[in-house]
């Protein structure tokens, strides 16, 4: 039946004059494609299409890319184009109107919010999309299990703004590692331009200054890899880069309990260096989002989207947080 239809179509389309061979073949090919494609197109209800643009956090690059991949498997015509140039680039792009979606690994400052309101007259929609944390890691065989805030500060900073009395330079200075005979603590961290560097400085060093002998790596995974290779190393990195090659230390909270950086503690916020990851959306009040954006957000808020966040090494949101954002 198929061939009959094709010939019919072909003769119909080439009714004037004798068909040239190439034209003939081309048309036949087109007709077959048409026949094959029709049932597929019918099978899908209300196709969503378009290219989504997002500009923002470098930390969330992997996560956004995976969400984009999953979105494309759901709706083959939707593509997510993500420009990872740091959290600070998201507010600029949102104000400029070049994107409607701004993923950020920190909440917006009030100044950034005001800039947007000044331009558009309404506030941005703030969505929490996952939870993340900064971890302090040591080699997997290192007996050290927990550090106080002051100890972290004494190890990584010169300023000791969190109130430690003396700098800690050697493993013998920590009670847990008195027998860890590897001499000086080799420090690893991120480079100046990264948000991780800034956040660690602000939250773990109490705003103080880093030591200048920290090896600065261009990526968190490079930090983890370096610490996993040397027994005398300690470093800080994003939680999503944790591998069994290193051990993530528990941190003492203000109440004096050591909180391990596990999923539960990060999800609840008990772990001192945990944070939300955000997606800022430019949505005028009373309007609804275009279907492609809508599809992305419902994917993120769905169970599948949160599983993808977990697969990328982040921590899913609690059901209560998800429910609070349920209207999206």
């Amino acid at each position: 039946m198929n061939t009959r239809l094709t010939t019919l179509l072909t003769t119909f389309l080439t009714d004037r004059g004798s068909p040239f061979a190439i034209r003939h073949i081309l048309l036949r090919y087109a007709a077959i494609t048409l026949l094959l494609a029709t049932p597929l197109a019918w099978g899908q209800s209300a196709p969503i299409s378009g290219t989504l643009g997002a500009v923002g956090s470098d930390t969330m690059a992997g996560l956004m890319l995976r969400w984009g991949e999953s979105l494309t498997t759901r709706y083959p015509d939707v593509k997510l184009q993500f420009q990872a140039s740091g959290s600070a680039s998201a507010p600029t792009a949102l104000v400029a109107g070049t994107t409607r979606l701004g993923p950020m690994s920190r909440p917006m400052t009030s100044e950034e919010r005001d800039n947007f309101i000044e331009r558009y007259g309404y506030p941005l929609l703030e969505l929490k999309v996952a939870r993340d944390a900064l971890i302090v890691v040591v080699h997997r065989h290192n007996p050290l299990r927990a550090l106080t805030r002051q100890q972290v500060d004494a190890i990584f900073s010169t300023s000791r703004a969190c109130g430690a009395e003396a700098p800690i330079r050697r493993w013998e200075q920590l009670p847990a590692t008195r027998d860890w005979s590897f001499g000086r603590i080799a420090l690893h961290g991120r480079n100046l331009a990264s948000g991780t560097h800034g956040l660690f400085q602000e939250r773990a060093l109490c705003g103080g200054y880093f030591r200048n002998d920290i090896s600065e790596h261009p990526g968190s995974s490079a930090v983890v890899a370096a610490v996993g290779e040397s027994a005398n190393a300690m470093g800080y990195a994003g939680f999503n880069h944790l591998t069994p090659a290193v051990h993530a230390l528990s941190l003492y909270n203000d109440g004096g309990t050591a909180i391990p950086p596990d999923e539960a503690a990060i999800q609840s916020g008990d772990y001192p260096l945990s944070r939300y990851l955000y997606l800022y959306v430019n949505l005028p009040p009373g309007e609804t989002l275009p279907p492609a954006e809508q599809a992305l957000i419902s994917l993120i808020m769905s169970d599948e989207g949160q599983q993808i966040a977990r697969a990328s090494g982040f921590v899913p949101l609690t059901p209560s947080v998800l429910n609070a954002q349920q209207r999206w």
């Binding site: 690059a61 992997g62 984009g68 991949e69 498997t73 593509k79 400029a96 065989h141 590897f182 591998t243």
Partner: protein, 474 residues
């Protein structure tokens, strides 16, 4: 003294023993360099190509009674105690939360290689290693060998047509997983495969690496967009650099007055070949991107400002920067070719009444053409391996849109692009998990080195051929 050499060295008289050792140290330098080069290339070849070979899966029983399955990756010594530990890739990140496991070798009681171990490549969770129990589809259920056959047929269908199917899997320690088949990319039982099946699987994996785009945020999949970006950028660059380089060389060699100034300029051009590439990158960023690109945006794309069109790194600026970087290479090579042409040829042409233009286009340029070609190939080889300046002027971690597509104007010069060298750097340092990325990094490095070496070898042979030919002519 007994140190009279017996062979070619017999020309020179006897000399003392200590002095006799110096030539050996010099010979050792050559040997050492060769050894390092050989070791590097072998390492890249073995690790880069070996990654695609279906690795044997082991089922490990520990002295604690625990069992797990995985692929042995490497061994290192334990710190502060005797013995080694081994790293296993265990996959199953959705079940265990991790996909690596370090085990002290002393703790291992049994290493088995059961043939029914299966390795699934899935998206989003990565690899699964365990056993296949059954396949369920529309209420039907296949088990045992039938399940295998069904899996093989189903995997040939596109992903959206196997949405209804589910795999019932168990890990070796007995945990059960229901895996929707739509998320499975490929399946293998490496322990049951014969060597020829493995060879096919290997060829298939290499092909997928070369022809597919990256998956799972650059931790998996192929490098096709990076190959494409590298090649396109290099082509654009040679289109820019060839005419200008040749023009400058002709000017310097044929037209300019051969005085002190020309000599100085020539030295200057030669030296630019030694200026660090990052300096060119800085120039490209400051002048092309911020200067020219910024102005272009203000004049022609003001409606999209402040989001930049040309005022940010992109294909065009990267090609221009690298063209500037390789300009000295082309100029020097072309000049060498021009200088080799005997003066008699030029004089003869002019004596027969040709103008300078005719002399250049009909006599000189055809004779210098191979030299120009050598120069361009050398330039291409240098540009293909250069990464540092690109980090400033337009390379991207992941560019979802290719710089060439069906959208008007088809070639998008303002788009960012992927580059093999930067892709290597990015996966090795920025990725989610360095350990997982390293095999891919090896493969990418091998590919990059191969491309650059082939280009260089072409240039060397071309030059060799050219010299021999010239030698016959003169």
């Amino acid at each position: 003294m007994t140190s009279v050499s017996a062979n070619s060295a017999s020309r020179h008289p006897r000399f003392s023993r200590v002095n006799d050792l110096w030539p050996w140290l010099c010979a050792a330098s050559v040997a050492l360099s060769l050894l390092m080069l050989g070791a590097l290339l072998t390492l890249l070849l073995v690790r880069g190509l070996g990654h695609f070979w279906p690795a044997t899966l082991e089922e490990i029983t520990l002295s604690s009674g625990e069992t797990f399955a995985g692929q042995a990756v490497r061994e290192v010594a334990l710190p502060q105690q005797d013995g080694d530990e081994r790293l296993y890739f265990t996959g199953n990140q959705d079940i265990d939360g991790v996909r690596w496991r370090w085990v002290a070798i002393d703790e291992i009681v049994e290493r088995a290689q059961p043939t029914d171990l299966i390795r699934l490549d899935r998206s989003p969770w990565g690899d699964f290693i365990g056993r296949l129990v059954a396949i369920e589809q529309h209420g039907q259920r296949w088990e045992g060998d039938a399940a295998w056959q069904q899996l093989a047929t189903l995997l040939k269908l596109p992903a959206n047509q196997r949405q209804e199917s589910q795999l019932l899997l168990t890990t070796v320690d007995g945990q059960i997983l229901r895996q929707p088949l739509a998320n499975v990319v490929s399946a293998q039982t490496p322990n049951a495969m014969a060597w020829w099946q493995k060879t096919f699987a290997w060829g298939d994996a290499v092909w997928r690496f070369l022809s597919e785009g990256p998956r799972a945020a650059n931790t998996d999949g192929g490098v096709w967009p990076a190959i494409f970006g590298t090649v396109l950028m290099v082509i654009l660059m040679s289109v820019i650099v060839t005419p200008f380089g040749v023009l400058a060389a002709i000017y310097l060699n044929e037209i300019a007055h051969q005085g002190r100034l020309t000599r100085l300029v020539r030295i200057g051009v030669r030296n630019l070949a030694g200026v660090p590439s990052i300096v060119y990158g800085v120039f490209g960023l400051g002048v092309f991107v911020y200067g020219v690109g910024g102005s272009l945006d203000e004049w022609f794309f003001s409606d999209t400002l402040p989001s930049p069109t040309f005022g940010t790194g992109g294909l065009l600026w990267a090609s221009l920067t690298l063209a500037l970087l390789t300009l000295p290479v082309v100029i020097v090579a072309t000049e060498e070719g021009l200088a080799r042409i005997p003066e008699a040829q030029r004089e003869g042409a002019v004596a027969l009444g040709a103008t300078r233009l005719e002399m250049l286009t009909r006599i000189v340029l055809p004779m210098a053409a191979p030299a120009m070609l050598t120069g361009v190939i050398l330039a291409v080889a240098r540009a293909a391996g250069e990464v540092a300046p690109l980090m400033l002027v337009g390379v991207a971690k992941l560019a979802p849109q290719m710089p060439i597509d069906g959208e008007f104007p088809y070639l998008h010069l303002e788009r960012k692009f992927m580059h093999l060298g930067y892709h290597l750097f990015d996966t090795a340092f920025h990725g989610e998990d360095v350990q997982a990325a390293i095999p891919l990094v090896y493969a990418t490095a091998l590919l990059l080195v191969l491309i650059v070496l082939v280009l260089n070898l072409t240039a060397i042979f071309l030059r060799h051929y050219l010299r021999r030919q010239r030698g016959n002519e003169c």
